[in-house]
């Protein structure tokens, strides 16, 4: 080559060192670092909000799992028992025994305080009745010293937790008087009050305003359980059958494309729309019982189906076509190829999708409001069938219900309910992740 311009000084490139960044590389590396920083900042922000949320939920909700109880050593002699049973006002006598026992115990601990039976009833409920029925059920304990345990009223509970103070009380009412604070302090000083795990919150049913502390989430957990049963039994077979047909058998034409688009759209329909649809179709048209988990389950099935169909189709698609070829190649029919080979390989994905769909349905509230599953439910269903047909509530609806009530105890219960709901959701999602990890197959 003789072209002079090639060797001209204009074209000559300065010798470049690999150890020094040139301007262009510097700029590129800077933008790379910047992008990383954005990512880390985004994740940190997300984590911060998550932690703030968890902290708020736990701090507000955990007290719902604790319950103050008063434990008093108590002895009922045979003479006392006979005397009380012969009297006109039997429970009043038992109450007096208890008060004597309580003040003796406190005196033994060096605490002096005067109180009457009304104060005891305000703080501990109808003690006399409780004692009497205890000894009726356990007659062998007459004459022995027992540790008698009594659930304290919700105001005692809240006073001890610090959410109810002397300043909050104005004048006093039939539920609480200013001097009751002194009695609580005295019992606390005598070491009679302790905090125990509130089983009643897990197993109990909803209560009215006169006993907010006794409200439990048990019945609505059962309502949610029956709904999930309906959702699982209906949406899994229908969803899987529909996706197998669409993915493996249906001809690809405008009609199936149309169905596909509609399924994708259904997954994005607001849940309240499904609720009003359920109200119109299942209750007003088909006359199914109102507020029943059966109807709730049917509505949630409609909501869950698109999720299950979409995830099932995705996992069917993920099975390599070579497996289908292999099965067809040895003379399996289309259906044999799908059921013997494709479906087992897609099963973990289908299961994961189903569990995630169920978790979604479990947390759904809006459709339940419309079909009336937000009522006051104060009892468990008696039989399995009644579980489907009797009016019931569901965990999220119960939370909504409690949050709407004025008593601060119910607000605490609502937060506690959120913890229960979140525990269920976390458990289900964990199961989904474990299933996916364990059965996922790689080619």
């Amino acid at each position: 080559m003789t072209d002079a311009s090639l060797n001209s000084p204009d074209n000559a490139r300065a010798p470049r060192s690999l150890t020094q960044e040139d301007a262009r590389t510097k700029k590129r590396n800077a933008s790379e670092r910047r992008f990383r920083a954005y990512g880390i900042a985004a994740i940190c922000t997300g984590l911060f909000f998550l932690l703030a949320l968890l902290a708020a939920i736990l701090s507000a909700g955990l007290p719902a799992f604790r319950q103050a109880v008063v434990e008093v050593p108590f002895t009922l002699t045979q003479e006392q028992h006979d005397e009380a049973e012969e009297a006109m006002l039997k429970t009043a006598i038992y109450t007096n025994y208890f008060i004597t026992s309580l003040s003796n115990t406190m005196q033994a601990e060096g605490v002096q305080i005067k109180f009457d039976e009304d104060a005891v009833e305000r703080l501990l409920g109808k003690v006399g009745g409780d004692l009497r029925s205890h000894f009726r059920d356990n007659p062998d304990q007459i004459g022995e010293e027992i540790e008698f345990e009594l659930a304290a009223s919700s105001r005692v509970d809240r006073y001890l937790k610090g959410t109810f103070t002397r300043e909050d009380l104005q004048g006093g009412n039939r539920f609480f008087m200013p001097e009751d604070f002194d009695l609580i302090d005295a019992m606390k000083e005598a070491g009679l009050i302790k905090q125990v795990f509130n089983w009643n919150f897990i197993t109990g049913v909803d209560t009215g305003v006169d006993n907010p502390g006794g409200a439990g989430i048990g019945a609505s957990v059962l309502g949610s359980f029956f709904m999930m049963l309906v959702v699982l039994v209906l949406s899994l077979p229908i969803g899987v059958a529909a996706s197998i047909y669409l993915e493996e058998f249906a001809p690809k034409n405008r009609f199936t494309d149309f169905i596909e688009i509609n399924i994708a759209n259904l997954a994005a329909v607001p849940s309240i729309v499904f609720g009003i649809l359920g109200l119109a179709v299942f209750i007003q048209f088909a006359h199914l019982p109102q507020s029943a988990p059966l109807v709730g389950g049917l509505v949630l099935t409609l909501m869950t189906l698109p999720t299950i169909i979409i995830s099932t189709r995705a996992s069917l698609k993920a099975v390599p076509p070579s497996i289908r070829d292999a099965a067809l190649g040895v003379g399996a029919s289309k259906m044999q190829a799908v059921f013997h080979h494709v479906l087992p390989l897609a099963a973990p994905g289908i299961l994961t999708g189903t569990i995630i769909g169920l978790a979604q349905a479990l947390g759904e509230t809006a459709p339940l409001l419309l079909i009336g599953m937000v009522g006051f439910v104060a009892r468990y269903p008696d039989t399995f069938l009644e579980g489907f047909l009797e009016p019931n509530s569901a965990v999220p609806a119960q939370i909504y219900n409690w949050a709407a009530r004025s008593d601060a105890v119910f607000t605490e219960k609502a937060w506690g309910g959120i913890i229960v709901l979140l525990l269920f959701l976390v458990t289900m999602n964990t199961i989904a992740v474990i299933l996916r990890r364990r059965f996922e197959r790689r080619w």
Partner: protein, 265 residues
Amino acid sequence: MNDMRIVERDVQQNDVKIAAKGVQVYYGDNHAIKDVDVEIEDKTVTAFIGPSGCGKSTFLRCINRMNDTIDVCRVVGDIHIDGEDIYDPKVDPVQLRAKVGMVFQKPNPFPKSIYDNVAYGPRIHGLAKNKAELDELVEKSLRRGAIWDEVKDRLDAPGTGLSGGQQQRLCIARAVATEPEVLLMDEPCSALDPIATAQVEELIDELRQSYSVVIVTHSMQQAARVSQKTAFFHLGNLVEYGETGQIFTNPNDPRTESYITGRIG
């Protein structure tokens, strides 16, 4: 086997097993196979060679109607196996595929045990009456696939855990287990290393005793080594079909010669 022996290979005439006449295949608007006539003999290895996209695999898949699974694919013309038209509406493609086995390009064992891989075909076709018969059939097929000695102690191990060459021989054993009459092989060695390839080629030569084998291959050396008859496809046309020795040493068509000498393809 040795390339040098191509010319000396004795050529004998066998019965015609597969007869194709005027076969056209369309993928939508794309005319993939143009008017192919070919007669494939029994107990013979027939190789289809040609550049990529020439339609050799497509034609192979017509023989056991695997193209039926592709929606846009349309096949025109006649293909007869033992004098029966396989595109007759009365023919059940599932029965056909039991008679015409297929081995694919990529080894594709089922993610099940070695035993179940082989036993699957006989099970769905009801070829074995009881467990003992099935065991026997599985052993026979694995022996035919020249893999029995390597796997006889671990029949319960997953088929996907074998090496590539073993997997492909397992797939051949699986195809053989349904007792087919024709064995189609779609580039069976393209995913294998030279040693595994040699094993599979040896196996193909043995299989010739019992089956009519049709093999699609990219490697001309492989076609020369294993086949008695060779068909050269180019742009959807069957350019030349004849004795392997003659195709490789003295082709009639200039296109065949160009391909064999490496000028097209």
